[in-house]
C-alpha cells in the first residue's frame, strides 16, 4: 500500500518525464494494492507487530517546559506521556479505571481516602525503584510548587497528605471529598516522576535531562524549536492494563519534529519525510483520505466548546436570551463547516467523557419557539433585522482563541443562525494573551472554549461558583449537586448525579454547548497501533512500523 514516490533519500533530476514516471508508478502500486485479492492474507501477516525502527512525527508547538506537572501544552504532554507512567490508566473505550503503576486501590465511601498498592519491580530510568515514598514526594511537591502547577493542584484540591504505609502501599488523604482524584491519577499531569526530579526547583524540572519517569521511552535529547528524541527503555515490563502487549515498546525511537506550519507538516508527511503528524487542519484532512494515509481523530473529553455566559454582562445574564439562543441554534448544520473529525455538541460533555449523557432531545433546534420567547419578553425586530427593547439593540459579543481554526468557522455559522433569530453576535478572535485579559472583562457576554479532562469533576471546575475564580451563572440546586458528585465514590451513583448536572446546565442555559473539539493526527500506512489515550493524547507504546 505504501507509495514510495519522492522519498527524501532519492536524488532525482526534476524532469517532467521522471515525475510523470513516478506518478505512473505510484498509481500502478495503488492499483495493484487495491485490486489484489490477497488483501486479507497480507494484512494478517502484517498484523504481527514488528520490533525496531524509528518513527518521526511532526508536532505543531515547541514544548518549552517538559515537566508534565507544570506545563499543560499539547506538545509537551505528547512527549512526556511516553516517558512518564501514572498510578492508573483510563480505558479510552469504556472509561473504566485500569491498573498501571498501582495494581489495586481502595476508596472510602465519601471519597476522602485513597489507598494504592504499587506494582513490584518498577524502576525509573535513572535506576531508582518506585516506592511509596516517591509517590508521596510527588504529591507533596505538586502542592508546594503551587503556582507553577496550578492546573494540577486542582486535581489535588483539599489535599491533606500522603502516607507511605509500607514500601508498596500509599494512602492519600483529603480534607474534603474529592471523588475525581482516582481519575486524576491516570493523567500525565499527575504522573510519577523520579525522586531526583521531584527534589529539583520548578525551573530545573523543566529541563530535558530532568524528565525521568518509569515509562516505556526515555528522553534522549531535546533541542528547543527543533526536535525531541525518545529512545526505547530497555527492560520495560509494566504497561497499563489498557495496553495491547506487556514487554518493551516496539519502536527503537520516536523523534518529535517541531514543524509549526500546518501545510509543511502535511507536505512532509505526504512526501515521506515524516511518518505521522499531529494537529491536522480541517482543510488538510481530505488529502489524507487516500494514498495509504490514515486519519486518527478523537474528541477531547471534558466540557465541549461552549458559549459560557457571564453573569456580569448585559445580555448573557438574562435567562430568556440565553434560552432563546440554546433552542434557536441548529447544531446539526455545523457539520457543513466541520470536517468528519469534529462533531456538533450533544451535551455539555463530549461523548468521550466517562459519565456523558446524550442531551440531544433537550438541545433540539426550534427557532420558532426561540423567536416566541424573545417576542414575549418584548424584544421586537428593528429595521436592521436585529431585535431591540427600550432602545437597546440585542447585540452580544463572544471572545475566543483564534489559533483554534475551527472556532472561527463554527462561530460564523452560529452568528448567521442567531442573526436569523434577530440576535447580533459579534465575534472577537484573540491571541491567547489577549483572550485571558478579555475573559476577565465583566462586560463581555460570552467566552468560548473547552476544558479537557476525562472526568465528571470537570463540570464542577468549569461551572461551579465555589470552584471558580470569576462569577459563574449557577443556582443552589446545581451547587448542591456539585458537592454531592464530589463526595460520591461509587461510579454508578456518581454518573447519575453527573447526568442531572448536565440536564440542569442545559435546561437553565447556564452553558450553551456548540461543538466537540478533536485531536486529529494523520499517519502513513506503515504506522500501526498508534492510538489516543483517554485524554486524547497520543500513545506510542503499542506502535510499530510495517516496513
Amino acid at each position: 500500500m505504501r507509495v514510495t514516490a519522492s522519498r527524501p533519500g532519492q536524488r532525482r533530476r526534476p524532469s517532467t518525464l521522471a515525475r510523470a514516471g513516478v506518478g505512473l508508478a505510484a498509481a500502478a502500486t495503488l492499483l495493484v494494492a487495491c485490486s489484489s485479492g490477497d488483501g486479507a492474507a497480507s494484512s494478517s501477516a502484517s498484523d504481527t507487530p514488528r520490533r525496531g525502527g524509528a518513527l518521526k512525527i511532526g508536532v505543531a508547538g515547541d514544548p518549552g517546559c517538559l515537566d508534565p506537572q507544570q506545563n499543560g501544552n499539547a506538545s509537551s504532554i505528547n512527549i512526556s506521556r511516553q516517558v512518564v507512567d501514572s498510578l492508573t490508566d483510563l480505558d479510552p473505550q469504556t472509561g473504566a479505571t485500569a491498573p498501571w503503576l498501582a495494581t489495586s486501590w481502595t476508596v472510602n465511601p465519601d471519597a476522602t481516602q485513597f489507598t494504592f498498592t504499587l506494582r513490584d519491580g518498577v524502576t525509573f530510568s535513572d535506576g531508582s525503584p518506585l516506592t511509596a515514598e516517591v509517590v508521596k514526594k510527588n504529591f507533596d511537591t505538586v502542592v508546594t510548587l503551587g503556582a507553577a502547577t496550578s492546573l494540577v493542584t486542582g486535581y489535588l484540591a483539599g489535599y491533606q497528605g500522603t502516607t507511605a504505609l509500607d514500601a508498596h502501599t500509599v494512602r492519600v488523604d483529603f480534607k474534603q471529598p474529592n471523588a475525581g482524584f482516582l481519575q486524576a491519577t491516570s493523567v500525565v499531569q499527575l504522573g510519577i516522576l523520579s525522586a531526583g526530579t521531584v527534589a529539583k526547583s520548578a525551573a530545573e524540572r523543566c529541563q530535558a535531562g530532568n524528565l525521568v519517569g518509569t515509562g516505556p521511552f526515555v528522553l534522549e535529547s531535546y533541542t528547543a524549536n527543533q526536535s525531541a528524541l525518545l529512545n526505547r527503555r530497555a527492560g520495560y515490563a509494566w504497561p497499563s492494563e489498557v495496553s495491547r502487549h506487556r514487554d518493551e515498546a516496539y519502536l527503537d525511537s520516536v523523534e518529535f519534529d517541531i514543524v509549526s506550519e500546518a501545510s509543511v507538516r502535511t507536505g512532509a508527511l505526504q512526501s515521506g519525510q515524516l511518518d505521522a503528524v499531529t494537529d491536522v487542519q480541517p482543510d488538510d484532512e481530505a488529502s489524507f483520505g487516500s494514498g495509504g494515509f490514515s486519519l486518527l481523530a478523537r474528541a477531547n473529553p471534558g466540557v465541549v466548546n461552549t458559549l459560557f455566559p457571564k453573569p456580569t454582562s448585559a445580555f448573557a445574564a438574562d435567562p430568556v436570551i440565553r434560552k432563546a439562543i440554546q433552542t434557536g441554534l441548529d447544531r446539526s448544520q455545523l457539520t457543513a463547516v466541520l470536517s468528519g473529525s469534529y462533531q456538533p455538541a450533544t451535551s455539555v460533555l463530549a461523548k468521550t467523557t466517562p459519565g456523558y449523557k446524550d442531551e440531544q432531545p433537550a438541545l433540539k433546534s426550534d427557532p420558532a419557539a426561540a423567536g416566541k420567547l424573545l417576542d414575549d419578553a418584548g424584544w421586537a425586530k428593528g429595521g436592521d433585522g436585529i431585535r431591540a427593547k427600550d432602545g437597546r439593540r440585542l447585540s452580544l459579543d463572544v471572545v475566543f482563541i483564534s489559533s483554534v481554526v475551527t472556532n472561527q468557522s463554527v462561530l460564523a455559522v452560529v452568528q448567521q443562525q442567531l442573526k436569523d433569530l434577530g440576535i447580533e453576535l459579534k465575534l472577537r478572535p484573540l491571541a491567547v494573551a489577549d483572550y485571558l485579559k478579555a475573559a476577565q472583562d465583566p462586560t463581555v457576554n460570552f467566552t468560548f472554549g473547552n476544558f479537557t479532562r476525562p472526568d465528571l469533576d470537570i463540570l464542577r471546575s468549569a461551572f461551579s461558583s465555589a470552584a471558580a475564580t470569576s462569577p459563574k451563572l449557577t443556582d443552589d440546586a446545581l451547587e448542591q449537586l456539585y458537592v454531592r458528585a464530589r463526595s460520591t465514590a461509587d461510579a454508578t451513583a456518581r454518573a447519575a448525579i453527573g447526568a442531572e448536572i448536565q440536564d440542569r446546565l442545559i435546561a437553565g442555559a447556564y452553558a450553551i454547548p456548540v461543538y466537540e473539539l478533536s485531536q486529529v493526527a494523520a499517519h502513513s500506512g506503515a504506522v500501526r497501533g498508534l492510538r489516543f489515550e483517554s485524554s486524547s493524547r497520543l500513545v506510542f507504546y503499542d506502535t510499530w512500523l510495517d516496513r
Binding site: A5, S6, P8, Q10, R11, R12, P14, R19, G58, G61, G64, C65, N71, G72, N73, A74, S76, G146, A147, A148, S150, L151, T153, A202, A203, E204, R205, C206, Q207, T223, A224, N225, Q226, D257, I258, V259, E261, V264, G267, A268, Q270, S271, G272, Q273, A431, V432, A433, D434, Y435, L436, K437, A439, Q440, T447, G449, F451, T452, A468, T469, S470
Partner: protein
C-alpha cells in the same frame, strides 16, 4: 581616529540602552503577562485563581513596581546576567547562545547570496543593449520585493521538497537543510540590491568620466565593470548594512516556515508567552548585530571611495 571610534562606541551604547528600555516598557503595554499565560497552561483557556497567580508573579518578581523591575533587569545586563526564562526555566544567555549560531549562519549566507544575486542581476539589466528586454528585466526586482518571504518559502517547499523530494522540508542539521531557507531569505535582499544598484549604475554611466574612459578607447564592458559599477556600489553597500536588520526580521519568518531553530523562533515564542527576559535578550542581541554591521559598513567606506576619510 580614536575620537571617532569613541564617539561611535558611545552612540552604540546609547542605541542599545534605548532599544532595551523601549522594549521593556512596550511589553508592559501588552495585555496579560507571562505568569498568567504560564499558569493558564500556555495554550489553553483555563482561568487561574488570583492568589495562585499572585504567588507566581512574586516568584519571578513580576509583582514589584515597574521601575524596580526595570532597574533590576538593567543591573543584571551590566553584570552579564540576562536572567532566566519564565516559560522554559532556562538561563536566557544559554537559550540565545544556542539559537544565535543557526540564525547567523542563515542570515550571513542569505546576505551573501542576496548581494551576489542582486549585483549579478543589476549588471545584467544594465548590460542589455535593447530597450524592450531591458525594461522587462528591470521589473524583476520590483516583483521580487513585493512577494512576501513566507510565500516564496512555501512555494519552494512545495516544489523542491514535497514534489521533487530533493531537499528536506524541516530541521537545521547539515548543509542540505540550509539551501531552501537561504534562498527564500536572499530573494528580497537580491531584489532590493538589484533595484538600487541598477538605478545607481544608470546614473553613474551618464557621468563624464565614463564618456572620457570610452573616448580613451576602453571597451564598453571594461568601463562598465571596472569604473561604473565600482562607483555605483556605494549606495548599495549602505543599503546592505541596513538590510542586516531586515534579515533578522526575515529570519523569524524563514525559521518558522522551514522549522529551523534560531533567534527568530525564540523571539516569536517569547513574545507569545510574554517572556520578558527572553524578549529583552533577543532585542539586545539584535541591536548589537545591527550596530556592529553598520559600524563595519562605515569603516569600509574609505576602501570603496577614497574621498571619504574616517577622521574628519
Amino acid at each position: 581616529m580614536t575620537g571617532y571610534a569613541l564617539r561611535r562606541v558611545g552612540q552604540a551604547i546609547l542605541v542599545l540602552w534605548a532599544a532595551y528600555t523601549l522594549t521593556f516598557f512596550a511589553v508592559f503595554l501588552l495585555p496579560s503577562d507571562a505568569a498568567e499565560i504560564m499558569a493558564a497552561g500556555s495554550d489553553s483557556t483555563n482561568s487561574v485563581d488570583p492568589a495562585t497567580l499572585a504567588e507566581f508573579r512574586a516568584r519571578y518578581g513580576l509583582d514589584q513596581p515597574l521601575h524596580l523591575q526595570y532597574l533590576r533587569a538593567l543591573g543584571g545586563v551590566f553584570r552579564g546576567d540576562l536572567g532566566t526564562s519564565i516559560h522554559t526555566g532556562r538561563p536566557v544567555a544559554r537559550m540565545l547562545g544556542e539559537a544565535i549560531g543557526p540564525t547567523v549562519t542563515l542570515a550571513a549566507l542569505g546576505m551573501l547570496v542576496g548581494v551576489l544575486l542582486g549585483a549579478a542581476l543589476a549588471v545584467a539589466i544594465t548590460l542589455v543593449p535593447r530597450r524592450g528586454p531591458r525594461h522587462l528585466l528591470a521589473t524583476v526586482p520590483a516583483v521580487g520585493i513585493s512577494v512576501p518571504t513566507f510565500c516564496v518559502g512555501l512555494v519552494l517547499l512545495q516544489v523542491v521538497s514535497f514534489q521533487w523530494g530533493l531537499l528536506p522540508a524541516f530541521g537545521s542539521s547539515g548543509f542540505e537543510s540550509l539551501v531552501l531557507p537561504v534562498l527564500a531569505l536572499s530573494l528580497p535582499v537580491a531584489a532590493l540590491i538589484a533595484q538600487l544598484l541598477s538605478k545607481s549604475i544608470e546614473a553613474e554611466r551618464s557621468a563624464e568620466y565614463a564618456d572620457i574612459a570610452l573616448a580613451k578607447g576602453l571597451s564598453r564592458l571594461r568601463v562598465h565593470l571596472a569604473h561604473v559599477v565600482r562607483n555605483a556600489l556605494l549606495p548599495a553597500f549602505t543599503m546592505a548594512g541596513l538590510l542586516a536588520g531586515e534579515l533578522f526580521g526575515g529570519s523569524i519568518v524563514v525559521e518558522t516556515v522551514f522549522s529551523r531553530a534560531g533567534l527568530g523562533r525564540v523571539a516569536l515564542s517569547a513574545v507569545q508567552a510574554r517572556d520578558l527576559p527572553v524578549i529583552l535578550g533577543v532585542v539586545t542581541v539584535g541591536a548589537c548585530v545591527f550596530i556592529v554591521v553598520n559600524l563595519a559598513v562605515d569603516l569600509l567606506y574609505p576602501l570603496l571611495d577614497p574621498r571619504i576619510a574616517v577622521a574628519r
